[in-house]
Symmetry: D3
Subunit: 174 residues, 6 copies
């Protein structure tokens, strides 16, 4: 079976959302878990566009929440596939938030989700390769390898000493 390659940009997905009362905690800040949920939906749409298959979340990498997002703010979630690995894809998510004031937009989060493509019977299936075109896409394509090694170590599927990419990234002096 031949799997064609597709440019990363084809999977680009944008979601704008208003922060509603039920999304917030008693300080009227967007709850982290609600944002993770929205990011997952954006990533799923992006992975589905790339693979033309049903996709399911395989993992989410470490996400940190530095900037509170407030009730009534607009959040913009951008998703794009960075690289595929046979039946899985890594999707980069960037989150921006802005309030009603001019020029208030800031980048509030970024994250990497991985999704697996399934066929109609629920079995994993091959996905197209990614063709990175911009400088940023090329950089993300390369660094996807070390992020994957860290994921495999944390999931107990790779021994740290075999994580050559990650070791070079973390401890280049070794």
């Amino acid at each position: 079976m031949t799997v064609s390659s597709k440019p990363a940009i084809n999977s680009f997905t944008v979601m704008n959302e208003l922060v509603f009362p039920n999304d917030t905690n008693p300080l009227h800040n967007l709850m982290g878990g609600r944002l993770l949920h929205l990011m997952d939906i954006a990533a799923a749409i992006s992975a589905q566009k790339h693979s033309n298959h049903i996709v399911v979340t395989a993992s989410v990498d470490n996400v940190s929440f530095k900037h509170p997002v407030k009730l009534g703010d607009v959040i913009t979630i951008q998703a794009k596939v960075t690289r595929s690995f046979h039946t899985s894809m890594e999707i980069r998510i960037e989150v921006f938030s802005e309030n009603i004031q001019p020029n208030s937009r800031i980048k509030s989060n970024e994250a990497y989700y991985t999704f697996v493509a399934l066929d109609d019977t629920g079995k994993t299936t091959l996905v197209p390769e990614i063709i990175p075109e911009t400088e940023e896409e090329k950089q993300l394509y390369i660094t996807a390898l070390s992020r994957r090694e860290l994921r495999l170590i944390l999931a107990g599927k790779m021994k740290p000493e075999n994580a050559t990419q990650l070791k070079a990234l973390f401890f280049p002096e070794l």
Copy 2:
């Protein structure tokens, strides 16, 4: 200001949830992002019980999704604070799922969330120390240090060469 210590067990929180149609994808599997949302709520309740303060999500560590959870399944989310770091807490989450069949319960996920405690003005505030009592709690209390180092590295707040705990964990031969 004196901050008392509290046993880990005081923060123990259990959520049982039914998987409803709107939580699922077209294969009738629970969406990963919806589970991350529920885990965040459980972690927030646990962190609030420990700190007696409003809490906000600071980060979630890598989470992987190995077992599909189906429409109609019961999921059980257990949360407990493992260790506190001045104004933040690490919460361990375990997720179990079971269907209607006897003895069908399996562990489907685990994760570590960190939360920060805020006072009424929205400023970070100190939280009690954790007193680990069981063997598992003591083990989680110790390993919390290396998980924290990894979090700080990934957030760009610590240089890998200073992550002594993590280095010993990943590359003990160095």
Copy 3:
């Protein structure tokens, strides 16, 4: 067909929930109907654990709401099967609520739901007997009979003069 007996504790179910804005009235109190909905879900999970069958609500007994539960409070719903009657089960629900202050937990409600077990074709099916073990479980097992009589009278399925348990409970002097 043999139906095994199971200890009451096997059906024990705990749900912790945060009170979100959409759950509240204009005074920021949890609406009674929303709580009845959450109690029904907890009872359904408990009844499903006991019966290993799909279950549907058959009735809810009188529930009173004495203590307002506020936006942002944590509610803890505990459910356990008290007794089974061929194809139906009585489930006792206790609701506790607490705010962010230490030692603020109070018992806010209790209720009895009954559920019926159905097989795959939607017909009622036998459920295991309950083995009460603690003193409280034994007491609830006994008093389930008079609660059932009241339910049958109110549903027009039993004449009050035949409700011997209930008559003894209400009017012991007769």
Copy 4:
């Protein structure tokens, strides 16, 4: 302070609702707790119309669920205040359901909710008397007394031997 009387019909409230997927169990039946939630909203609107005050649920009487309501069915909830007791009101709820077939409408449930009226500071406040006009309204106005006695007994606020109305209803031979 003078409290005017108002006809029962002034509080009449009708809600038509479609049964959506998230309201149903795996057999595609409306969950009992979801219906209790909708009934509570209808009762609250009715009590608010009668009292012109914020109202909160005080209790719900025994409700039984005899007829399954299916996904896609239309449910019609009718609410009307039957009688007021100083600061509280009893509301009668009737639920009808119908599917897409002609003449498929059946009465699926009935229930009695009680609500308490609150002023702006959250304190209980007097509500108008009910003027029953139809035969059914007059009957419900009278029988409200024995339902109230049962409620008070079940809430531990009245001794059974003092429940003269209820005793006459249940055990007329005594």
Copy 5:
């Protein structure tokens, strides 16, 4: 196949709804889109009652929002079929809102939705004629023609010069 006629009143549908926090914008006003959603549900129930078929929205006419509806207000949506056109129906929607004060009810919106009836295979199917009985129903039955012409022009399905009813309505001097 014979299609019977049915009085307009048979399709009359009333929905009372409370405005909840998640339905509102930061000024605590009901969002227009949420009201359009509720009106669509009321119209669908009305069209289903008239046709005894599954119905899908074909169009909504111009709707304007003049009166803000506030958090906690009660909205009453009334729907009734005005006329049928082979496989489609026009439904008139009126929206009233009231707050907790006596005599506060005002008419806040009106709209016309059209729905198409579908058989079990998803194909359009004939619906009964409408029998208008009241003066208002008769007037709406007649004016339905010019509203339909405007709809067809706006959808690009009719040339304006053929819209004789509409032309007479808009420009009677021509």
Copy 6:
């Protein structure tokens, strides 16, 4: 008070959404009212970006639904302000839907919403002029006048004989 002009493109807003079970009717098609709700949110974000003020829906023009959108489809909603009129703005909405198959994207709907800008006290406030740049934006800027005339006629605020733009559009031969 000087009100600056802003390019139309600055208000461009994209929402990608998955169609979830609760958004659908029994044929598993997206309900029209749910789509109107999502379009309103997209339009509100676009109007807020342009005006830097709180905005409320003033009207929605005729919307027709020609193509069924199915459960699991991805819908893409694009919104952009076409022209402002003192304190109000017209926003054009385009909706595209696609399923999992390659090249399945179709345009399913388009609509025009108008929003009014409010200051912090809830009073209407001036919004910037629109600078149309592309050919399409210039065309929409011009035709906004006749759409506005139709809106004013339908709202009873303009006599048809004064609607010179609309008359020229509909009946150019007059």
